[in-house]
C-alpha cells in the first residue's frame, strides 16, 4: 500500500548549515586531544573480559593431570557436531589415575564447525573443557583447523580446581570407611 512520507520544511538553523559544521568541528577537536582508542592489531591485543567465549580447550588440574573422563556429553550437546571423542581406559602408565577408569583416547574439535556457543563447557561434569581467551585461529588446510587432544591441552593449560572429586574418592578407597 502506498503511503505519503511527510517532509517537514527545514528550520532556519538547518538552512544556515553552520551549526552542523561547528558541531562536527567540535567532535574532531575533542578526539584530537582525547586518549587514543585504536588498537594496533595484531601488534597490540585487546584485553579479554572475564567470561569471554574463545576457543574451546581441555584443561589439566593443578597437578597437571588430565581431567576429561570422556563421558561424551559435550559431543552429545554440541549443536554443530564439532566434537568427536574416542573413549577409552586410563593408560596403565598413570597409576594414580587408574581409579578414574576412563579417559579419552582421542579428542578432536573441528574449529571450522565450532560456533563458540559454550554448551560444552556448561555441560561438562568434570570441569575439563573451557572456552578461554584464544580468539584468533588460522590455518592453511582444513586438517590444521581440527584441534586434536595434544593441541587442546596445549591451548588449555592448567586451571584451578575446587573439588578434587577423584582424589577424595581415592582417599576414601584407601582408608576404607568406618560407619
Amino acid at each position: 500500500m502506498a503511503y505519503v512520507v511527510e517532509r517537514k520544511p527545514l528550520t532556519l538553523a538547518e538552512r544556515l548549515y553552520l551549526p552542523q559544521i561547528f558541531a562536527g568541528l567540535r567532535i574532531t577537536l575533542k578526539h584530537l586531544f582525547a586518549p587514543n582508542v585504536t588498537l594496533q592489531y595484531p601488534e597490540e591485543r585487546p584485553v579479554i573480559p572475564p567470561g569471554y567465549r574463545g576457543v574451546p580447550t581441555l584443561v589439566r588440574d593443578p597437578q597437571g593431570r588430565e581431567k576429561c573422563v570422556s563421558c561424551q556429553l559435550c559431543e552429545f550437546v554440541c549443536p554443530p557436531k564439532a566434537i568427536r571423542i574416542t573413549p577409552g581406559s586410563v593408560p596403565a602408565d598413570q597409576p594414580d589415575r587408574l581409579h578414574i577408569e576412563k579417559a579419552p583416547q582421542a579428542f578432536e574439535i573441528d574449529m571450522l564447525r565450532c560456533i563458540y556457543c559454550g554448551l560444552c563447557q556448561e555441560v561438562c561434569p568434570e570441569e575439563a573443557i573451557f572456552l578461554q581467551n584464544q580468539y584468533s585461529l588460522s590455518g592453511y588446510t582444513r586438517a590444521e583447523m581440527v584441534n586434536d587432544k595434544a593441541r587442546l591441552y596445549e591451548l588449555g593449560g592448567t586451571l584451578p580446581d575446587q573439588h578434587y572429586k577423584w582424589d577424595k574418592k581415592k582417599i576414601a578407597a584407601e582408608h576404607g570407611n568406618t560407619h
Binding site: 573422563v69 570422556s70 563421558c71 561424551q72 556429553l73 559431543e75 552429545f76 573413549p87 577409552g88 581406559s89 581409579h99 578414574i100 577408569e101 576412563k102 561434569p125 568434570e126 572429586k165 574418592k169 576414601a172 578407597a173 576404607g176 570407611n177 560407619h179
Partner: protein, 576 residues
C-alpha cells in the same frame, strides 16, 4: 457396577480408572495395562519376585463387604462400593490383583515413598555417571531425575566397596554402584541354571560376589548386564566403547542357531558396538546367549571378502557375474566345450528366505542338484539349539530342499568323481569344510558367493562377495516355523552388492525373466508361489514373527531338542 467378565479376567481400579486384567497379574503389570508406570528396580516380569527394592510402593484398597452377610457395603455419597484403604503402602510387585482391587499411584504418600527410597538408594551410590557405561539407560538415573531431591543430605562418608571386579570372562562388576536388587542372582539361578552369584555381609556392607572359586562364565552371563538396573554389572567387551545415546537400534535376528533369538543391533555411523536381546515372549523372552552377542565382529573382520575375483584375479562385479553366467550356462570353464554340463547348487541354511527362493529358482532353471550343509552342535536347552543353521526350515518352505540336509556333501563328492558335475555354485558354504576334497574341487569350476575368506573362496573360479546379516534385510524361519524379519543395521561394505541383487542378476541372465532384487519386489512373487507364505509380506510381518503352517514337514527328523518355548515333537539322538 462391575460388568460380567470372562472368567479369567478381573476388574481392578488404577488411579480411578477401571481396567480388566488377567487373574494372577501383579499390581505393577495391572498398572502397566492401565498405562500407569510404577517405578521399580528388583521386579522383572520374567524372574521371580523378591520385593527388596521397595520402589514400587503403592496404596492399595479393597472393596468393603458386610462381615456377616458378605453383601457389598455401599457408600451413599458416591453410590459405589466402599473401599477400605490400607493404612500403609504395599509393594506392587508382590501383590497380585484381586477382584475390585483399588490402586493409587499418584497420592502424596506414594510420592513420598518413592522420594525416600530414592534418597536411601543414592546415599551410597558413587558419583560415577560420567564414567559409567549404564548412563543413559540407567533406571536409577531415570528415577533419580523423577523422584530424587537433586542434592544430598548425607554428610557422612560413602561406603567403599570393590570396584572393577572381573566376575567372569565377559562381565565386570562395580559393587559401589550395586543397589542389591538381586535380579542377576535370580537370573543365574532360574534362567541360566548356574547359581554362582550371591550377596555376602549384611546391611550397607552387603556385597554382590561370586561363590569362592567360581566365575560367572556361563553362556548367558551377559544377560545379567542387560538386567542390571544400574551400572554395577557391565559388559567387558562394550566397556568404554560408546555412549548408548549415540547408538541406533535396529531389530535383528541372532543367526547362531535355529532358535532365531530376536535381537537389537546397536550401531553408530555404520559401526556396530553391541547386540542385546529384543523381547519376544514366544521365542526368547528377554534373553540371548553371549555367543550371539559377538557375531557382529565378523562385519569388520580382516578376512572379509570385499571384491569379486575371476580365477583369483580381482575383477569388477559385472565381469564376475558374466563369467558365472557363462560357466553355469555351459559357455566356458574347465570342461571341454560341448561337454554336457552338470551343475550342482550348494545352498545355505544361513541364507535368508528370499535368497533361498532365488537360489531355488536358479537351481530349477539349471536343472541342478541342490544340497544344503547341516551344522549340528549340542543344544544347551535354553536359547542355542542343536541346529546351528538359522534357516534350514526356510529352505524347506521355499522348496529349495525337500529333505533335511546332510552334514557332509558325500553325494556331491561322488557325483563329481563320477564326472556328472562340472560346475558347483556355492552360496556361502565352504565346500572343503563340508567334506569335499581339494582334488574333487579341482575337477570342477566353483562359483562362490560368500562373506569371508575360506578354503573354497581361495580355489573358486568365480568369487563374488556378499553381505553379512547385519548389512542386509530379510527373513528367516526359526525352529518353530516362525517367519521372522530382520532389518539392515549398517550399510554394506563399499563395492559389495546385496546378495539379492547378485542372485537376481544371475537368475535374470540365466532365465531372461526379470525378478525383483528388492524385498518389496520379491515378496509378491514369493507369496504367489509359496503356499505357506501366501499372506506374508516383508513390510507387514509383525516384529514378533508369523507362525507358519508346518504340517507339511511334521514328519521330518529335525535335530533340535528342547529349548525355551520350544519342544521338538520327535527328539532324535544328537551326535556332534
Amino acid at each position: 457396577m462391575m460388568q460380567p467378565l470372562p472368567s479369567d479376567l478381573i476388574t481392578v481400579n488404577v488411579d480411578g480408572q477401571d481396567i480388566a486384567v488377567p487373574k494372577g497379574t501383579n499390581m505393577i503389570e495391572a498398572a502397566r495395562l492401565a498405562s500407569v508406570e510404577v517405578p521399580h528396580y528388583c521386579y522383572h516380569p520374567k524372574l521371580t519376585i523378591s520385593g527388596n527394592c521397595r520402589m514400587c510402593l503403592v496404596e492399595m484398597g479393597l472393596p468393603v463387604v458386610d462381615p456377616a452377610t458378605k453383601a457389598p457395603l455401599m457408600d451413599p455419597a458416591t453410590g459405589k462400593q466402599k473401599i477400605n484403604w490400607m493404612p500403609r503402602p504395599t509393594i506392587a510387585c508382590a501383590t497380585n490383583a484381586s477382584p475390585g482391587l483399588h490402586i493409587r499411584t499418584n497420592t502424596a504418600a506414594v510420592q513420598d515413598c518413592r522420594n525416600s527410597v530414592t534418597e536411601f538408594l543414592l546415599i551410597n551410590h558413587p558419583l560415577d555417571c560420567p564414567i559409567c557405561d549404564q548412563a543413559g539407560e540407567c533406571k536409577l538415573q531415570e528415577h533419580s531425575t523423577a523422584y530424587g531431591r537433586g542434592y544430598s543430605r548425607f554428610v557422612e562418608q560413602k561406603n567403599v566397596k570393590p570396584k572393577r571386579t572381573q566376575l567372569g570372562p565377559r562381565v565386570t562388576l562395580d559393587d559401589e554402584r550395586c543397589i542389591l536388587c538381586s535380579r542377576c542372582v535370580r537370573f543365574s539361578k532360574e534362567i541360566a541354571q548356574d547359581d554362582v552369584l550371591g550377596f555376602i555381609d549384611r546391611g550397607s556392607y552387603s556385597t554382590l560376589t561370586c561363590y569362592p572359586g567360581k566365575q560367572l562364565a556361563n553362556n548367558y552371563s551377559l544377560n545379567t548386564v542387560d538386567l542390571c538396573p544400574v551400572g554395577a554389572l557391565t559388559s567387558t567387551d562394550f566397556r568404554f566403547k560408546m555412549r548408548v545415546w549415540f547408538l541406533k537400534q535396529t531389530p535383528s535376528i541372532d543367526c547362531e542357531s535355529s532358535v532365531g533369538v530376536n535381537t537389537e543391533v546397536w550401531s553408530r555411523e555404520g559401526v556396530i558396538y553391541r547386540i542385546t536381546p529384543r523381547q519376544n515372549d514366544a521365542v526368547n523372552d528377554t534373553w540371548m546367549a553371549d555367543s550371539g552377542r559377538v557375531l557382529f565382529k565378523e562385519v569388520s573382520a580382516a578376512d572379509r571378502l570385499s571384491w569379486a575375483t575371476l580365477n583369483g584375479v580381482q575383477v569388477t562385479q559385472g565381469k564376475a557375474l558374466q563369467a558365472a553366467v557363462d560357466l553355469l550356462s555351459g559357455r566356458g570353464g574347465r570342461a571341454e566345450s560341448g561337454a554336457v554340463k552338470g551343475v550342482a547348487v550348494v545352498g545355505s541354511g544361513r541364507s535368508t528366505v528370499e535368497e533361498q527362493f532365488l537360489t531355488q529358482k536358479i537351481a530349477a532353471k539349471l536343472n541342478a542338484t541342490v544340497a544344503l550343509v547341516s551344522r549340528v552342535g549340542v543344544g544347551d536347552k535354553i536359547l542355542v539349539s542343536a541346529d546351528r543353521n538359522p534357516n534350514v526350515r526356510g529352505a524347506l518352505v521355499t522348496g529349495l530342499i525337500h529333505a533335511l540336509p546332510e552334514q557332509k556333501l558325500t553325494a556331491l563328492g561322488a557325483a563329481i568323481d563320477a564326472g556328472q558335475v562340472q560346475v558347483v555354485l556355492s552360496i556361502g558354504e565352504d565346500l572343503i569344510a563340508a567334506g569335499l576334497t581339494g582334488a574333487q574341487l579341482a575337477k570342477v569350476a566353483v562359483i562362490y558367493l560368500g562373506t569371508h575368506q575360506n578354503a573354497t573362496s581361495a580355489v573358486a573360479s568365480v568369487m563374488m562377495p556378499t553381505l553379512t546379516v547385519f548389512e542386509k534385510a530379510g527373513t528367516l524361519v526359526n525352529q518353530q516355523f516362525r517367519l521372522q524379519k530382520f532389518a539392515r543395521a549398517v550399510p554394506g561394505l563399499a563395492g559389495v552388492s546385496d546378495d539379492l541383487v547378485t542372485l537376481s542378476h544371475l537368475l535374470n541372465a540365466l532365465s531372461g525373466a526379470p525378478l525383483g532384487a528388492t524385498l518389496g519386489a520379491l515378496w509378491p512373487v514369493i507369496a504367489a508361489e509359496v503356499k505357506v507364505l501366501a499372506h506374508a509380506t516383508y513390510d507387514t510381518l509383525p516384529s514378533t514373527g508369523l507362525l507358519l503352517d508346518s504340517t507339511s514337514w511334521a514328519g521330518l527328523p529335525f535335530v533340535e531338542g528342547e529349548t525355551l518355548h520350544f519342544k521338538s515333537v520327535r527328539v532324535t539322538g544328537v551326535t556332534s
